[in-house]
């Protein structure tokens, strides 16, 4: 299932995006930081005194300007007081002072020496040396001074040491010397822009993540998912790295798979077994029909709308009906059927579904294609088109049963194929049951009686055939003798002896008469001979 090519393609897309976005953010940040670096107004670096005597040198340097002034105060100057202090006339120095001031050139330091005067009182004195440059801005042709400053702050501990001569010498030490800025640190100079560029990319990353989270939230909330919105959006943008998420479909149902795919749809993979087919839907439209087996891919938001079981179905079903003569019966029918071979058949089967009342239990609420074949078509056809045509007697006939089967098969075949996309494979008729046991028993009894009657009649006919022939022979002889005697009597009236001739003549006469009345055929030559015999006997 793992597809290395797909995985690599996915990662290539991710990497392209990653580097693309990171590159853009980097460029923006780099540009900002570069501008910042180029236009950066470098700070004044103060040089603070570390002691007195030889170490009392102080000053400041502006790498991109000129330090023009220094002022010594007890407390740091507020920004708005700076200009006033710098321009104020020098007052009488009583405690500490800067002397030997060497003016600076651009990029060069301004230097001076820090002195503590003898007149300084004993104790600790806070001292701030403020240096200022000559930065200005031009506004409407007028220069406005906007000096940068740097400070050295420290405490001067002054001690009055009594001398032998009764005077006091002044001893001063500097403590807690703090320059406002320590000056260049090469490591920092290098690291700061890199850090700035990196941090400058952070807002972009923050908003990208924010946007993704907000939209993932929409996906999760809208489709009622516990999570996976983020993954969905990444799959949407880059495709899927592997087969997951997926659904496995077999036996006409979802065997297993990801819940989010069921609810939201693709992008996802499908393992579609050979016994199933699926109809897909997306954005309110039916999109595709896919017959298994295979591994189709669900497009974004494409959902499984219906699953069709491709296996042949066998469904025995009892059809209640009323015969043509109004007698209720139940006929059990079994139908074997299967969805047809074309996509059109699959589509018909999927869309033929009827929805029943909501109060029904779930299998019963949906009347899908197998139910429509059986409960709809088979039951309806059998009841209204076939059984309704026959009287109850006919339904008991074996040949009619065969006809019913054939009729049902043909009717179902046409209607199921046209309306439901279903192929009827076989129709079998099973038991017919009547309403109530009594009727069933009665039917059996009647059939038995009828069989007995027929057998009896047939037996009688055979016996009577034999008797008939015997009786007929006797009857014919009697008829003939009667006829002959009748003639003889007429000839031998009042005679004591009857001549043989008379007897023969009477026989001949009887033959002729019988042949004439019964329409029996006597050949011409036989008649001629009889006539001749008659003439001979008559001459006697």
């Amino acid at each position: 299932m793992f597809n290395l090519g797909k995985y690599l393609r996915y990662n290539v897309r991710v990497l392209i995006t990653f580097f693309g976005v990171a590159g853009l953010l980097f460029i923006a940040s780099l540009a900002a930081v570069s501008i910042y670096a180029v236009h950066y107004n470098q700070r004044i670096i103060p040089i603070c005194p570390t002691g007195l005597d030889g170490n009392n040198l102080t000053g400041a340097v502006d790498p991109d300007g000129k330090v023009v002034d220094a002022v010594i105060t007890g407390q740091p100057l507020p920004p708005d007081a700076l200009a006033t202090a710098l321009t104020a006339p020098e007052e009488a120095v009583t405690s500490v002072t800067l002397q030997d001031m060497n003016p600076a050139a651009v990029g060069e330091p301004l230097t001076a020496r820090f002195y503590v005067l003898e007149t300084t009182t004993a104790g600790a004195h806070s001292v701030t040396i403020t240096f200022a440059n000559n930065d200005t801005l031009t506004f409407r042709g007028r220069e406005v001074s906007i000096p940068q400053t740097a400070q050295c702050t420290f405490k001067v501990q002054v001690t009055k040491v009594p001398q032998i001569d009764g005077t006091f010498s002044t001893v001063a030490t500097l403590h807690n010397i703090q320059p406002s800025y320590l000056g260049f640190d090469m490591d920092r100079v290098v690291q700061q822009p890199i850090l700035n560029v990196a941090v400058g990319m952070l807002p972009g990353i923050v908003v990208i993540v924010t946007a993704l989270l907000l939209c993932a939230n929409l996906v999760n909330a809208f489709f009622g998912l516990d999570g996976g919105g983020w993954q969905f959006l990444t799959h949407r943008m880059f495709g899927r790295p592997g087969f997951s998420p997926y659904l496995i479909i077999g036996g006409g149902k979802i065997v297993m798979g990801n819940e989010s795919v069921k609810k939201r749809g693709g992008p996802a993979g499908i393992v579609l077994r050979q016994d199933s087919a699926i109809v897909l839907e997306s954005g309110g439209a039916l999109t595709r029909v896919i017959r298994g087996p295979g591994f189709p891919q669900l497009q974004p938001f494409e959902k499984i709308w219906d699953i069709i079981d491709l296996r042949p179905q066998w469904w025995p079903f009892k059809v209640s009906a009323v015969t043509r003569d109004g007698i209720p019966i139940t006929y059990e029918v079994a139908v074997k059927f299967q969805v047809g071979p074309t996509d059109d058949d699959l589509f018909k089967a999927a869309t033929c579904k009827w929805i029943r009342d909501a109060w029904r239990s779930e299998p019963d609420r949906l009347m899908d294609w197998p139910k429509r074949v059986i409960i709809g078509d088979t039951e309806g056809t059998m009841r209204n088109r076939i059984l309704a045509k026959y009287n109850l007697d006919k339904l008991l006939d074996v040949q009619v049963r065969q006809q019913i089967r054939q009729d049902l098969f043909e009717m179902l075949k046409v209607s199921a194929a046209q309306n439901l996309g279903v192929e009827i494979m076989e129709v079998t008729l099973q038991d017919v049951t009547f309403q109530g046991q009594v009727l069933e028993e009665w039917a059996k009894t009647w059939k038995m009686q009828r069989d007995l009657e027929v057998a009896k009649i047939e037996a009688d006919e055979r016996v009577q055939e034999i008797k008939l022939i015997e009786r007929a022979q006797g009857q014919v002889r009697q008829e003939m003798l009667d006829s002959a005697v009748k003639t003889l009597n007429a000839m031998a009236k009042r005679r004591k002896n009857v001549s043989v001739d008379y007897v023969l003549l009477s026989f001949i006469d009887m033959i002729e008469h019988t042949a004439a009345t019964q329409r029996l055929f006597i050949p011409e030559d036989s008649l001629a001979k009889l006539e001749k015999l008659k003439t001979e006997l008559g001459s006697h």
Partner: protein, 842 residues
């Protein structure tokens, strides 16, 4: 004023003006509308003026803008934090008002722009004031805590106030997030690159945020053509099969474009001011049946006014949603739809056929109550269209509104307790699929009322006398038939004909004639006597056909009378029926003789042996009767044209099919066409009277249950159409009659069985009687032959006495053993003969 007349002040003014221009540009770009541009410009202008006026309150010592070095970097160290932050707040604020106006306009046009811009201006004002607190109250110009406090205050209290006042308390978390993300981006931007960072980092971050929100949003929902939205997947498919990207799918076409609404949804969902989100699938089950609408996946209040909405409805292809704002309804088609302010889901409509069933009690024409189980599949009117791949289930918008609202009824369930007289009343909207259960029963009752109880199951109209009434055992003969049977002057044909007229109606006789493949001239008869005479005359011409006719009658309507008249089994085979499709110059008629000649040539038999049973027009089809042997001799697939060219021109056979191989439906159609609309002769032509389609339709109506079902469905369909509902099919199941009637029918059936037995016995007796006659004749002939033979043998050498003895022996009378023949007695009859003759003579 002096504050503003500085480089920084003027820069701020220019930036404020530029922000107004930006607002106007955004208005044109995003909404392409003068109104939007003007509104955004004006709003930004007003807000910025307000901010700048606020700045004027401070004097130049409080806000010494003149000393601000406006490079693109951070402010210099000598600039106090208070001054720098104040300026930054003002600078960011004047631009942000433009963005806030645009965002507000996106939500609620002018009102939204005003609210959001002023809210942001107020926030900026709070920031300015709180930021200045350390300076003004504590004299510390470098304290940053004022700004931090301001940001936090706005991010918590300010947002809470805004939420309470505008959003009904919603969206606090989201707005707080947005606020702090915004502050974070500004702070980071400024920290890493000063004011250049604001321009190149913070501002792009805002564009990235809103751009990506839009882009991810349009990827999040199945909007139209979502597959064509460019993504890296479809831009770089690397061989995968993907939809081709279309760049313009990225851009909305208007403010109601789903892309825009999707972005709104992302934002309002995050704020909690969204309208309800629905994903509607097959939700209505046993568990949810009491609900009118499904539960939303994300709840929301459609009455939220500001920065709210839209709602979303996503339906599958088989259903749609109907929404209402209280004034009008809107149909949301299958797929994704967005709802607007005040718009609520009224109901959803399942476009698949809805099957509803009901057992309806009805009264027949003869006043018998029957119960009929009916099933009525129905759906919203779609004019018979079916779903197709690539589309949704079909529907008609107007019909949907009609079904769900215009004709929806409220169901009242009113019950009064008989004991305490307390009433329980329940009023519920009746779902549209159940309207058929309101409209259907009266229609079915009306349809059933046209049938008698028996006709509900019979294939033919019920005669006035009830065939299934009290059992009426048929008498073997009535007086007239006894007379007929004994009359020797009447031939069998006449007796059969009279019997047919007396016992069968025209329909019976027509069906019989059709089954016997009688000519159309026979079937053209209308009365019983016409039909019976024509049928008997036609069959009497053929050997054995009359007996076959009689046996057919006996088979269908068993009678002892016919059993005795025609006891022999039939040996006659009636002509086979063949369906012939012909082509002729005129599709409504064919030259009769040419047709017969063509058929004669086809079957290689004389034209007289062919019977034209029936015909249909348009596609000219004929049902003809042809001797079975002729049909069997040659496959019907082989068509033999007649030799005569003229005949060929007048008529030629297109195809042939055995009637038995036609479908039941086609066979019934032929029966209808032949019996009810036989063709006529028009001079030399034979002219069919019915089309094949008409015959097919009419033939189907012969089943009363189908006829009832069809009439019911047709009428119901017409009734339901104005209500926006399409009845698709519909039918009835068992028609259940009262038990007494079933019992009576069973008795009748039993009586018929008894009659069958009696008839079988009568037939057997008749056969025996007939055999007696035959045997007598055979014996007579045998005796005569023998006697003649004896007499012939005696010719010439006549010994008369011996001859007489032989004759007597032939008659079964043998001479006694002691009798001796003597010469003296020659010519005299022996005494034993004399004795016998005397006995016989007496």
């Amino acid at each position: 004023m002096s504050t503003l007349i500085t480089q920084a002040g003027l820069t701020l003014l220019i930036e404020a003006g530029s922000a107004c221009v930006l607002a106007v540009i955004l208005g044109y770009l995003l909404w392409k509308s003068h109104n939007a541009a003007l509104t955004l410009g004006a709003t930004t202008l007003v807000c910025n003026v307000f901010l700048l006026v606020l700045a004027l309150i401070f004097d130049s010592t409080q806000l010494p803008f003149g000393a601000l070095d406006l490079r693109l970097t951070k402010f210099a160290d000598n600039v106090s934090v208070y001054l720098a932050t104040t300026y930054l707040i003002l600078e960011i604020a004047v631009w942000t008002t433009a963005l806030a106006s645009a965002l507000g306009y996106f939500f609620d046009k002018g009102m939204g722009a005003g609210i959001l811009a002023f809210a942001f201006t107020f926030a900026a004002m709070v920031c300015l004031v709180v930021n200045g607190l350390p300076f003004f109250f504590y004299g510390n110009p470098n304290a940053i805590w004022g700004l931090v406090a301001a940001v936090v205050m706005v991010g918590t209290g300010g947002i809470w106030m805004f939420s309470s006042a505008i959003l009904r308390g919603k969206g606090v978390a989201f707005l707080t997030l947005l606020w702090f993300v915004y502050i974070l981006t500004c702070w980071l931007g400024y920290q890493v690159a000063g004011r250049a960072g604001l321009l190149l980092i913070s501002l792009p971050a805002q564009f990235i945020l809103w751009g990506l929100l839009y882009y991810f949003a349009i990827l999040s929902l199945p909007i139209q053509d979502y597959a064509k939205i460019p993504t890296l997947y479809n831009l770089l498919p690397f061989g995968d099969t993907v939809e081709r990207p279309v760049w313009r799918k990225l851009f909305p076409s208007g403010e109601k474009d789903p892309r825009v609404l999707t972005l709104r949804s992302v934002l309002t969902l995050a704020m909690g001011t969204n309208y309800p989100f629905y994903v509607i699938d097959d939700w209505k089950t046993r568990e949810t049946m009491d609900k009118d609408t499904p539960d939303p996946h994300v709840p929301g209040n459609p009455y939220n006014q500001f920065f709210a909405g839209p709602g979303i409805i996503l339906t599958n292809c088989e259903r749609l949603a109907v929404t209402t704002d209280g004034l009008k309804f809107r149909v949301c088609p299958p797929g994704l739809s967005f709802t607007q302010k005040f718009e609520q889901l009224y109901t959803d409509v399942d476009l698949r056929p809805q099957l509803r069933t009901k057992t309806i009690n009805a009264e027949t024409k003869d006043g018998i109550s029957v119960s009929i189980f009916t099933f009525i599949p129905n759906r919203v009117w779609a004019d018979g269209r079916k779903p197709v791949l690539g589309g949704s289930y079909p529907f008609d918008e107007e019909a949907v509104i009609k079904a769900v609202y215009n004709h929806a009824v409220m169901d009242h369930k009113f019950e009064r307790d008989p004991e305490n007289q307390l009433v329980t009343e329940e009023v519920k909207r009746r779902p549209w699929p159940e309207l058929v259960l309101t409209m259907g029963p009266p229609i079915l009752k009306d349809v059933v009322a046209r049938y008698t109880c028996n006709e509900l199951h019979m294939m033919v109209p019920d005669p006035d006398k009830s065939k299934y009434g009290l059992p009426q055992k048929e008498q073997p003969f009535d007086r007239g038939e006894i007379d007929l049977l004994s009359r020797t002057d009447l031939p069998l044909e006449a007796k059969l004909q009279q019997f047919m007229v007396r016992h069968h109606d025209a329909d019976d006789l027509k069906t019989l004639a059709f089954d016997l493949s009688a000519d159309f001239s026979v079937l053209a008869g209308e009365t019983e006597s016409e039909l019976a005479r024509a049928l008997v005359e036609a069959t009497a011409k053929k050997r054995g056909a009359l007996n076959h006719l009689a046996r057919q009658i006996q088979q269908r309507w068993p009678s002892t009378y016919i059993a005795q008249l025609f006891p022999r089994p039939s040996t006659y085979t009636p002509p086979a029926k063949v369906e012939v499709t012909v082509t002729a110059e005129d599709s409504s008629r064919v030259h009769f003789d040419a047709l017969k000649a063509t058929l004669a040539a086809q079957f290689d038999i004389p034209a007289a042996h062919i019977a034209i049973i029936g015909a249909t027009k348009q596609a000219l089809r004929f049902l003809v009767g042809v001797p079975v042997d002729a049909v069997n001799e040659r496959p019907l697939s082989e068509i033999q044209p007649p030799a005569d060219v003229t005949v060929q021109q007048q008529c030629s056979i297109a195809s042939l099919a055995a009637f038995d191989e036609l479908s039941n439906e086609a066979q019934n159609a032929w029966q209808y066409a032949c019996c009810s609309a036989p063709p006529t002769r028009d001079g030399e032509f034979i002219q069919p009277q019915i089309t094949w389609e008409e015959a097919l339709i009419a033939a189907r109506k012969r089943n009363p249950r189908l006829e009832i079902a069809r009439t019911f469905a047709d009428r119901l369909k017409k009734e339901m159409q104005p209500l926006g509902i399409e009845v698709i099919g519909g039918g009835i199941s068992d028609i259940k009659v009262p038990d007494e009637i079933v019992t009576q029918r069973l008795k009748n059936w039993s009586a018929e069985r008894d009659r069958d037995i009696e008839i079988a016995i009568a037939e057997a007796k008749a056969r025996i009687a007939l055999r007696e006659q035959e045997v007598l004749g055979e014996v007579r002939l045998e005796m005569l032959t023998r006697l003649v033979q004896i007499l012939q043998e005696a010719e010439g050498t006549v010994d008369k006495q011996i001859l007489a003895v032989k004759l007597f022996e032939a008659m079964g009378i043998h001479s006694p053993p002691e009798t001796q023949k003597t010469d003296s007695d020659a010519g005299v009859l022996p005494p034993y003969m004399l004795s016998i003759l005397k006995t016989l003579g007496h």
